[in-house]
């Protein structure tokens, strides 16, 4: 079983976020990058399947700065990596360059994280499926492999799941929580240095969308409670008492 996993090197939305001087992009200062959280689960799922059934896990990253994330995936147990050094904000282009870069790979499944933690589009995996004309299932929380087919449970609203069956090859986007991703140590990452990262340069075609403006959203702000922890706790108790909650 050969599985291609898409892994994004993405800024953590909990790092300090601001708009760059051009008013059209995210300022790089203060951003902390790591493997996209959803992709950790996708990589883990692929590696577990490989460990159980044999085969190969190939991880694909897009971006000039994605090496750290690819190394991390290799340290987790992926066999090799493909790096596409293209920087784009347009998921359409991202899917397109991946399609081109993997065209000579024979695979059974492609896994992608359900969405990226920075742009939150939830697009690249499904766009790629559409471009390759492969069956797809998104937000997968459980999957079983049977001869040439996959039985997947996907997350719906309100705690419901939908069980579906797909033939391989197919594309699955993996929801967080499907497994417990393994921890990799710095030493593990160093040891994975011998594994191959192949660079494949693909120029994206024209984009489908253009950023006009990026800005901080206007928000209605809560009434803020200030003070030291003890003062804050007293104020909360007062609010709860006023409302008859204690």
């Amino acid at each position: 079983m050969k599985i291609i996993v898409l892994a994004k090197h993405a800024p953590d939305p909990e790092s300090e976020i601001s708009v760059a001087g051009d008013g059209k992009s995210i300022s790089q200062s203060g951003l902390v990058y790591d493997i996209n959280d959803w992709d950790r689960y996708a990589v883990e799922e692929a590696i577990r399947i490989k460990e159980e059934r044999g085969g190969e896990v190939v991880v694909v990253g897009v971006g000039t700065n994605c090496d750290d994330t690819l190394r991390k995936c290799l340290a987790m147990g992926a066999d090799r990596a493909i790096k596409i050094p293209a920087d784009t904000f347009d998921p359409y282009q991202t899917a397109e360059v991946i399609k081109e870069a993997i065209k000579n790979e024979q695979f059974d499944m492609i896994f992608a994280g359900f969405m990226s933690q920075d742009l939150n589009n939830a697009l690249v995996g499904v766009l790629l499926a559409g471009m390759l004309d492969l069956p797809v299932a998104t937000a997968v929380t459980e999957l079983k492999l049977e001869d040439g087919k996959v039985v997947a449970r996907r997350e719906l609203e309100g705690g419901y799941l939908e069980e579906v069956e797909l033939p391989t090859p197919c594309v699955l986007t993996i929801q967080s929580g499907i497994n417990e991703p393994r921890y990799v140590s710095i030493m593990g990452i160093k040891r994975a240095k011998t594994k191959e990262i192949k660079e494949v340069s693909v120029a994206p075609s024209i984009s489908t969308v253009e950023v006009e403006r990026m800005y901080l959203p206007p928000v209605k702000k809560a009434e803020m409670i200030e003070g030291d922890p003890s003062q804050i706790a007293s104020k909360i108790v007062e609010i709860l008492r006023d409302r008859g909650l204690i």
Binding site: L119, A122, L123, G159, S176, V211, M214, L216, E223, P229
Partner: protein, 314 residues
């Protein structure tokens, strides 16, 4: 502009977001039309509901469309779009819509933007960075596909349109087969029934800190719930998850500890009577929905709160 809105239903109920798509379509159609598309085996009752708010409702019916599959939804929508040439196709940003809409866009070679909260001509707006940033995007061509966030376009416009059988059938068999729906797990406590909820997010840091939240909840006579990362990490069971994919709660008090406030979570708790949020990050979107906010380390505030409550009780 000719705007198509693809309706969604499950367990015999039309998703209210389908009407919201039409509300948006009516607002932006100009001289054009707002047209609903409803796909299934027997969709008459949904078509009638949709017709109140649409200039036209296209029914696409076939036995093989009884259960949603992305293969067949894309197949019939491609046929309809090819014939009727819509400028925009609106789809709900749901588990279903978020799945087939990008596939459809890829097949149409059309731009797609997801989780849209505003549309002005070919300019569309959405959040990114889990709600901490917004972006205005220009669609470089039409037709385009947009998935739309729930709860944004609530103002309805009554139109009263006609219902038309599109005369379209799937051209192939679905590769993906629907097997069954799986019901939500039922736990020992139903958080949707609780008056007081102490809810924890990623900021709780570790399973070993859950007892801190439990102690606070028990002093307040409430229950502990959590946001997605807490459930994903297995620190609380799935039936304690608040959010679109978990439970929608409306308690008298929702105390959010270390929860950043991603939209998927906020939709599950925004109607709580009193929301107090504690988070280290002053820019956390949870402060946009909370009544009271505290920018602080929960591990400093919660023990103080526990002491004070014990003092009152004792």
């Amino acid at each position: 502009m000719k705007v198509f809105c693809v309706a969604e239903y499950r367990f015999g109920e039309l998703n209210p977001l389908s009407i919201e798509l039409l509300n948006l379509a009516n607002r932006i159609k100009g001289d054009g039309t707002a047209e609903a598309v409803v796909i299934g085996r027997d969709v008459g009752k949904y078509a009638e509901e949709l017709a109140k708010y649409a200039d036209k409702v296209w029914k696409i019916e076939d036995e093989s469309l009884e259960n949603y599959t992305p293969d067949l939804y894309v197949d019939v929508l491609l046929q309809l779009a090819d014939r009727e040439k819509p400028d925009l196709i609106l789809v709900g940003n749901t588990a279903q819509g978020g799945e087939f809409a990008p596939y459809l866009a890829a097949k149409m070679n059309a731009p797609i933007v997801t989780d849209v909260v505003a549309v002005d001509g070919t300019k569309v707006s959405r959040y990114l960075m889990q709600g901490k940033l917004m972006v205005d995007l220009k669609l470089k061509s039409t037709p385009a596909v947009l998935t739309v966030r729930q709860g944004v376009f609530k103002e309805a416009v009554e139109v009263g349109g006609e219902i038309v059988d599109a005369g379209i059938k799937p051209s192939k068999e679905s590769r993906r087969k629907f097997i069954k729906y799986v019901e939500p797990e039922v736990g020992e406590v139903d958080i949707a029934q609780a008056d007081i909820i102490v809810s924890v997010g990623r900021g709780i840091e570790d399973a070993s800190n859950i007892p801190l939240a439990e102690e606070l909840a028990s002093l307040l006579g409430g229950v502990v719930a959590g946001s997605r990362p807490v459930i994903d990490n297995g620190w609380l069971p799935k039936d304690r998850q608040v959010g679109i994919s978990g439970k929608v709660v409306k308690p008298k008090l929702y105390l959010a500890l270390g929860i950043s406030g991603a939209f998927q979570h906020v939709m599950g708790m925004k109607d709580s009577e009193l929301i107090i949020a504690v988070n280290k990050d002053p820019e956390a979107p949870i402060f946009g929905v909370a009544h009271y906010g505290v920018v602080a380390d929960l591990f400093e505030v919660v023990p103080e709160l526990i002491e004070k409550l014990k003092g009152i009780k004792g």
